[in-house]
Amino acid sequence: MNIAMVGRVSLEQAKSLVEFLETDQQDKADALIAEIQNPINSELFAEIGKLTRQLHDSLNNFQLDSRLNDLATADIPDAKERLNYVITRTEEAANKTMDVVESVFPVVDNLAERVRGVNPSWTKLMNNEIDLPEFKGLCVDIDALLIATGKETQHIHSLMTDVLMAQDFQDLTGQVIRKVIDLVREVEDSLINMLTAFGLSAEKPQENASPKVGDNLVEGPIVNKENRDDVVEDQDDVDDLLSSLGF
């Protein structure tokens, strides 16, 4: 059908109409008349029909892609659990380490205090200024200090092993996070496929596309400082910025 013609009916159409009528093909003649009367509508219907079929096929394809379903119902909940595991393990490690540090502080302070205690007598001894009773007292103090130091350093050594072992979270959380990164990549691919299927181009990112930030621009730790000029690099930058503002 040629809708670009100037009049409402072409000579060709008129000839076909006469031919249909002369050869007793009433239904074809009626169809032709309908087409002549409503040329645009029939084109539109054909186009809508085509789109409907495409949409139907697209939806069917999505249903067929069971991976999407698995992603939403299994992999993503699993990833949430995994990330919670990371929080738990890193928190445990931090607390285990701080338990040790907090228990070592007073022990070290106590030893330092006792060393300070024997220091005056020891200095006298080294300068040959000590008398016998003080020397005897010093020997008793040093003896006690040696025993205490031996015991405490052994204790601290075993605590340090606990600190060492608390760092094993890095291996475990590293593996877990790597797996979550793989999942994020897969979800990203699926989303891009979906955008493409619906005719939205994922090829060209929007001009100033940036991740969502929360209230008060909250974003958390900046992991790509070197690619950004809206963030400070370190504490010196903070101090410079504040002093440039007169703070």
Binding site: M98, V101, N216, L217, V218, V232, Q235, V238, L245
Partner: protein
């Protein structure tokens, strides 16, 4: 403020440490204790901290920015807006590092801004500066 042991600073000043992560509260508490502070309390976000501040005679607030519930910046604004609390110095220790945010905090009346990750030395320097300025 002079934080050396023989300094004139009142080591009994009441400090409130606000952070949603207990490990960070613990780190800050340990560092403050190392500097001689003994009277330290904790809150896990702004909305817990504010009633504590209103109910007790705190002398100093160290707060994170990004917390569920009430954020540190909003806590700072609430402190400055409350006549009975407005005088309390506030130190932000945060991972938030956008220049716009630092300016926002300065305009809201923050006394110090430390960006994470930070060191014990940085904390000490900032405390010195804050209390030196307050005289």
């Amino acid at each position: 403020m002079n934080v050396s042991p023989e300094g004139a600073l009142d080591k009994n000043m009441k400090v409130l440490v606000v952070d949603d992560f207990s490990t960070m509260r613990r780190i800050v508490k340990n560092l403050l204790r190392d500097l001689g502070f003994t009277n330290i309390q904790e809150a896990d976000d702004g909305s817990t901290a504010l009633p504590m501040l209103q109910g007790g005679d705190f002398d100093f607030v160290v707060t994170d920015w990004n917390m569920p519930g009430m954020q540190g910046i909003d806590l700072l604004k609430a402190i400055r807006a409350d006549a009975s609390l407005a005088h309390i110095p506030v130190l932000l220790i945060t991972a938030e590092a956008k220049k716009e945010q630092i300016i926002m905090a300065a305009q809201a009346g923050v006394n110090g801004y430390i960006v994470k990750p930070f060191t014990a030395g940085t904390l000490r320097t900032k405390l010195d500066k804050i209390f030196e300025r307050l005289g």
